[in-house]
C-alpha cells in the first residue's frame, strides 16, 4: 500500500496512540489518499475514537509521526489545521438559541476576521454546506429542536463550512434511525466522490462499511489487523475474528451479517432453490432449528445464505441438472432430519430431481411442510396428516410451533 503514486493526504508512521503514556494502539502505518472513504472498524473499546482524536490532534501521539499534506501534524498552526481538517464528534452538543444557519456559520471560524463577521462569500459557503447535506430547509429552525438525524446532518454541514480536505467522524450513524443512517452515509460518500474530500469515519455497521468504503481499517488487540479494500479485507473469518462472533457470520456476497440459531429444536431439511429458501433458512435459524438443505446450485442465493447460517448443504455445480448422485446424498441427509420443508421453488429441467426428493421424503414417512401453492400429488401422505400445506411463512411458523409435540417421542428414542 506504500507504493501509491498518488500523494497521500494523511500518513501515519509507526504511530502509537493512547492516554497517559499507556498505548491503546501501536505500530500503526497507513496512508490516506484524497477522495477516499476510509472506515475504521473494530469492537467497542478497540481504540477507534482514540485514533481519531490523535489524528485530529486533540491527543498527542505517544510515538511515531503523523503527516498532513507532507507537513508534520504537531507543528502545523492551529488555523491551518482547521482549514484542512474538520471533525464530527459523538458529544451531544446543544448550544441554546442558535438557528441551524447560525450554528453552521461557526464552522467559518478559521476563515473569518477577528470578530467572526461573515462576508457574502462566507454566507455562500454556509448555504452550500447546508445544501450538500440536504438541510437547507432546516436553516431557520432552532438547532436545539432538531432530531438526532437532522442534528447529525447539520454537524456535518458545520464541518463542511470549514472547507476541509479531510473529514474525521466518530460513529456518524450511531443513534440514528434507518432513514437518516442511509442518508448520512450517502451524503458522506458523495462528499468523497463529488468534492474529493477524504472521509475517515469509525463505523459500527460492517455491512454499511463494506458497501460505502474505499478502504477499511480493522482495529483490534492494540493494533491494525488489516487495511485495504473491503472486498479483499472483509472475509467472513476476518469479520468473525474482529468482533469475536460465534453465532453469526459476515457474508461478503450478501453484504450482511447472518445470525445462526441455537439449533436445539430439531433439524429441518429444506428442499430449496432459486432464492426461495433464504427466508425459510433465516426463519428456521431464528426459531432455533438446525438446518440441512439440498440440492442447491452453487450460484444460487440459497447457497450463500445457507453457508452463512452454517447449514449442511448438498450442492451441485451451476448450470448442471441435479443428478442421482446428489439426490442420493440429499436423501441420506434427509433421513437424519426431523421434518422436511418444501420452499415452493419453481420447477424446471435443472431441478426436477428436487421434486423427486420431496416424494422420497413422503415415502420414507417424513412430515413435509410445503409453501407450494399448486398441487403436489401424494394421497398416501394426506391420510395421516404428514403433508402440511402452508400458504404463508406465518402459517409455516405456526405449523412448526405445533409440530415438536409429536416430535418429542422421537427425541427420547435418540437419547
Amino acid at each position: 500500500m506504500n507504493t501509491a503514486t498518488v500523494q497521500p493526504i494523511l500518513s501515519a508512521r509507526d504511530l502509537s496512540v493512547g492516554y497517559n503514556k499507556t498505548p491503546v494502539l501501536s505500530g500503526l502505518d497507513f496512508d490516506c489518499e484524497a477522495g477516499q472513504f476510509i472506515s475504521l472498524l473494530g469492537p467497542n473499546g478497540a481504540g477507534k475514537t482514540t485514533l481519531l482524536r490523535t489524528l485530529s490532534r486533540h491527543l498527542a501521539p505517544l510515538a511515531g509521526a503523523i503527516t498532513l499534506h507532507n507537513k508534520s501534524l504537531d507543528t502545523l498552526p492551529a488555523m491551518d489545521l482547521a482549514r484542512t481538517m474538520a471533525v464530527v464528534l459523538t458529544d451531544k452538543i446543544v448550544p441554546p438559541l442558535f438557528t441551524v444557519f447560525e450554528f453552521v456559520t461557526l464552522g467559518r471560524y478559521p476563515h473569518t476576521d477577528y470578530l467572526g463577521r461573515l462576508n457574502s462569500e462566507d454566507q455562500k459557503i454556509v448555504t452550500q454546506s447546508l445544501a450538500a447535506v440536504h438541510a437547507l430547509d432546516l436553516a431557520g429552525r432552532p438547532f436545539s429542536d432538531l432530531s438526532d438525524g437532522e442534528r447529525q446532518k447539520v454537524l456535518v454541514a458545520r464541518a463542511l463550512a470549514q472547507e476541509p480536505f479531510l473529514l474525521l467522524l466518530d460513529e456518524p450513524t450511531i443513534h440514528l434511525d434507518l432513514k437518516h443512517r442511509v442518508e448520512v452515509m450517502a451524503i458522506l460518500r458523495d462528499l468523497c466522490r463529488d468534492k474529493g474530500i477524504t472521509v475517515i469515519a469509525s463505523l459500527h455497521d460492517v455491512d454499511v462499511a463494506a458497501k460505502v468504503s474505499d478502504q477499511v481499517a480493522l482495529i483490534k488487540d492494540g493494533g491494525l489487523l488489516d487495511w485495504g479494500a473491503p472486498e479483499a479485507v472483509l472475509t467472513p473469518e476476518a469479520v468473525s475474528g474482529l468482533y469475536d462472533f460465534s453465532k453469526a457470520e459476515f457474508n461478503r456476497h450478501l453484504g450482511g451479517i447472518e445470525l445462526r440459531g441455537e439449533g436445539n429444536r430439531g433439524r429441518a431439511f429444506v428442499v430449496a432453490g432459486m432464492g426461495t429458501g433464504s427466508l425459510v433458512y433465516r426463519m428456521l435459524a431464528k426459531k432455533g432449528f438446525a438446518i440441512a438443505t439440498g440440492v442447491v446450485h452453487t450460484n444460487d442465493l440459497d447457497y450463500y445464505v445457507a453457508q452463512s447460517l452454517g447449514a449442511d448443504c448438498i450442492t451441485t455445480p451451476p448450470l448442471e441438472a441435479i443428478n442421482g448422485t446428489s439426490t442420493n446424498l440429499a436423501a441420506t441427509l434427509m433421513d437424519s432430519c426431523d421434518f422436511v420443508i418444501d420452499s415452493g421453488f419453481a420447477v424446471s429441467t435443472g431441478n426436477q430431481a428436487n421434486m423427486t426428493l420431496l416424494h422420497t421424503a413422503l415415502e420414507r414417512g417424513k412430515t413435509v411442510f410445503t409453501l407450494r401453492g399448486d398441487v403436489l400429488e401424494s394421497p398416501a401422505a394426506n391420510s395421516d396428516n404428514r403433508f402440511i400445506r402452508c400458504t404463508t411463512t406465518t402459517q409455516l411458523i405456526a405449523a412448526l410451533d405445533a409440530f415438536p409435540k409429536r416430535n418429542a417421542a422421537h427425541q427420547v428414542q435418540e437419547a
Binding site: 492551529a78 482547521a82 452538543i93 442558535f98 448555504t127 452550500q128 437547507l136 436553516a139 431557520g140
Partner: protein
Amino acid sequence: MTTSEPVVPSIRPPAWRRPPVVFSGLGLLTLILLVINVAVGSIPYSLAEIWHVLLNPREDSITNTIIWNIRIPRAIAAAFGGAYLAASGLLLQIYFRNPIVGPFILGISSGASLMVSIVMLTTVTVGWTLFTPFMSTLAAFVGAYGVMLIVLAIASRIQGGVTLLIVGLMMGYLCGAVTAILTALAEKDKIKGFVLWQLGSFSGFKWDEIWILLIFGGCILTLLYLQSKPLNAFLLGEEYAASMGVNIRHFRLLILLCACALAGMITSMAGPVAFIGMAVPHMARLSFGTSDNRILIPGACLMGALVTSLCDLIARTALAPVELPLSAITAFFGAPIVIALLLKRRVKL
C-alpha cells in the same frame, strides 16, 4: 449538490427581539435607574438640584457632598459591579457549559470571606493602623486573588471542566470551614459586621475605587469582547473549538483569569453579591434571543447594570432608614428567575 444558487429562508428574529432595540431599551432603563439612584435617599433631590450639582462640582455644600461623594459613586459602583458580575458569570457558564454556574463557583467569594473574617473577627491585625480604613477591602482582595491563582494553577494542569468545578467547590468548603471556626470563636458584636459584609453592599465607595473599577474592569471587558469569536466556538465544547483553530490551553486560562479577576475585584470592594452573576446571563440570553457572545457580552453587562442598580435601589429604600442586605434582594430577584428558567428548559447553557 445543486449548482444553482440555493435560497436560504429568512431567519430574522421578530422586531422587538432585535439587538439594537433591546440595547436601546436596556440602556434607557439603566440611565433612568442611575438618575433615580442619585435622586432617591434619606434626603431626596429633584432633577434640577442634581443638574445644578453636576454642573457645579466645585461648589461647597452638603448637597454637593452627598451627591458627588455618596450617591454618584454608589450608583456607578452598583451599575459597573453588576455589569462585571454578569460578564464573569457568563464566561464561567460558557466555560463549564453549565447553566447554574456563577462567578463564585470557584471559591472566589469564600477566599475573600476567609481573609476578611481574619481581619474583622480576630485581633491579628490590631496595630496596623495605617491600613485600617482599607483593611477589609485589602483582605478581600488578597483572599479573592489568592484563590484565583490557586484555581488557575490547577486549571493549567488538568483537563476537563467538571474536575475544576469540583476543585473550586472544595476550595470554597475549605475556606468556609476556617471562616466558620473563626466565627465561632469571635466576639458577638464583631459577628454582625462580618455577616453584613458577607451579604454585600455598594455603599461607601470612594472615587479612587471607582477609577480602579472603571479602568481595570474596562480593560478586561475590552479584552473579553475581542475574544467573543473563540468564546462562540467554545459553546460547542473544547474539542470542537480546538478543531476550529482555538488555542485551547491559552484560551481556557484567559477565560478563567478574566472571570475571576472581575469577580474578585467586585468582591474585594463590595463583598460577595449573590445571584447577579448566575441569573443575569440567562436574562440576557432570553431577551436578546441569542447565544452569540458578540451581542451577549455587552448585553449581559447592560442587563447586569440594570438589575443591580434596581436591587440596590430596593435595598436602600424598601425599609429605609434601615438598609437591607443587597444579596437578600438579588436572591429574591434571582432565585425565581433561575427556577423558572430551569423549569422551562428553554435555555440550557
